[in-house]
Symmetry: C2
Subunit: 433 residues, 2 copies
Amino acid sequence: MTVPSVEERLGSAADSHRRMWSELLPVGRYDASGGYRRHAWTPADAECRAWFAEQAAARGLAYEVDRNGNQWAWYGDPAGEGAIVTGSHLDSVPDGGAYDGPLGVVSSFAALDALRERGFQPVRPLAITNFVDEEGARFGVACVGSRLTAGVLTRDQAYELRDAAGVRLPDAMEAAGQDPSALGKDTERLSRVAAYVELHVEQGRFLAETPHPVGVASAIWPHGRWRFDFHGEANHAGTTRLQDRRDPMLSYADTVLTAREKAALHGALATFGKVSVEPNGTNAIASLVRGWLDSRAADEATLTALVQEIEAAARERAERDGVRADVVRESYTPVVDFDAPLRDRLAACLGAGTPARRPTTTPAGAPSGHCPILPTGAGHDAGILSAVIPTAMLFVRNPTGVSHSPSEYAGEADCLAGTAALADVLEELVCRP
Amino acid sequence: MTVPSVEERLGSAADSHRRMWSELLPVGRYDASGGYRRHAWTPADAECRAWFAEQAAARGLAYEVDRNGNQWAWYGDPAGEGAIVTGSHLDSVPDGGAYDGPLGVVSSFAALDALRERGFQPVRPLAITNFVDEEGARFGVACVGSRLTAGVLTRDQAYELRDAAGVRLPDAMEAAGQDPSALGKDTERLSRVAAYVELHVEQGRFLAETPHPVGVASAIWPHGRWRFDFHGEANHAGTTRLQDRRDPMLSYADTVLTAREKAALHGALATFGKVSVEPNGTNAIASLVRGWLDSRAADEATLTALVQEIEAAARERAERDGVRADVVRESYTPVVDFDAPLRDRLAACLGAGTPARRPTTTPAGAPSGHCPILPTGAGHDAGILSAVIPTAMLFVRNPTGVSHSPSEYAGEADCLAGTAALADVLEELVCRP
């Protein structure tokens, strides 16, 4: 049996994929960094959303925006039961890459094009979505669109969110022409969805060490964010004797290095990527250093133990520095195990592999032609929605593993292989009774 | 012989001192911190300057603003030769204390009041000054007013200075009603000044460990500011394996701790009090961490050796982290040895002590009634002007040593003792032929 090539499986949808990329690439690009700044409800986001609506119109799809601002393009009856939904998001982190989010939306439209060219016979509705504000870059909470829809974030909580300039989320929506008054859980809509499948660029190097361009997700690592506030005493940097200081920068620095060491010991991740200092003057000892710890591990027990160890070390060092350490857990997401029957159906459709929990493990001897199953440390709308409907994810190989950076990249052949895999999976899901 | 008390030496000038404090204390106070935000050419600064002009008018002093925006109040002929000048500054660091600067200006007016009450017979002019923008909090360069006047900062350099909002210094001056067109070296004015004496709250605990409320300055430690840029690679904090990271936060943290250790070994000071991070997102490994090192030592050889050791350690750690370290010296001020004859004349006037180079040394067995002579790590207008005219400084005891902080403090009795000492010193300088 000869396996058809990716280009054969996609037909003219490969060109459709390339055309959509060339349309999206200039939108919201920040010249100084080469990265993207497509934050929710900004003009760059509006341009992305207009592009989505155009793609729906060009294909004759029924287009709608739900109560939470998520965009939907329907092939088949939007009111039908047992719908299969695919898509991702179009917003970005500050100076993010081109692929994180948009690859899933572009691949969804291209996969539909391929299926129509194949003359597929769906027995249920198929929808393509753009979930709003996945990255949370503007209001500080990730996956706002899917969290609201799933009821994980309440309307009242969303109304309290503010951006760095103090603009409230509902006001930002309204300024962008979107009515915020009906924000909230969308049980009725989700009751008509049988499954959500999200294709995403891999944000690590699991697939890069395999011959496979595409893999199926097993789980999302539990992860959280902790704020470490180190309170010291402002003083003159040029005159205060070392022994008279209560310098919180020392406690912070020690905690940064400790977090890295302990993460390595646990085979987990711990990162301080955001800091805020008061008064932040060159000739003033800081009065307050505030650092945010992002930490993730394969299981919740490991994550809890790791963060407890970092916190204990921070408090010990702070005491030695005459500094007060306050630690606040700002967010926490338990482990997400994707729906097992759906995952297995996708893996069977694409060629089965062996589940592996740790992305640091190279899948030893995975036979070529099979489909790897891999976990991820990153949160996604599919992870949020997994609490209320069956969800699954496909990952496309990332040769450098770099993401949330202007240098994020995936090869065109791998992106097209991802689109072909998504088309195969959607055909399996929408054409069987 | 009975030594007259401070209150006896000051007469009604003690009340004048208290009244001026009560007038200045509310100006530019930031309620959230209890500290002051009196940055150059802001409304709070304008209020301080209006207060200075009122003090001059209330005393019938000739008032003028020089080409660089410094304020002058003259007792005697402003065009006369061999003038004795005293004063300080009224601006503050962000959330600074009440005493740093204003204590010198208030004490100067009160000292003049005391001298007039004593019926002093000056043989040369006496001027009180407020040097503009001593702290450099807004435009990043300290002592702008005295640097321009001394010709250490050129007009062209001053025109290039910008604040955080991008406002240029000349535009800020103009917006505050001050003509910037004549900025620059003021040789003619300085040629008529015989000496500048600045009283300042001590910014350390040298005098706090003595029975003396007032001391005379010997020197300003050499000091400088170095910017450490650690360039790594932005990446996803939740998915990037530890071994694949190039995380500049680690290099920065290690450098902070190294700087402290090496400063202790050298008996010197090294502080990282200001940091800037890109992209500064909680779930992104930083691409750039920029930290500013403030370092000072008793002599230039020690300072040079210390900074070289910190820089070498930073580069070594950066290389291990896959990070590039760039180190730029942003400013450097050599050691200032105050004019020896003037210093000795002040010390003789106040009661002689033994010079001590290190503020960390407790002056052993200094006899009560004598005047300690001490160095400082902090820059001052008197230090800048020492390059072109004889200058001297008096320090007033600071019980906690805290400065550049809302909790900076000096006791009223010590402040009045400082004013009495300044009056004695000015009498000595302006009444002798």
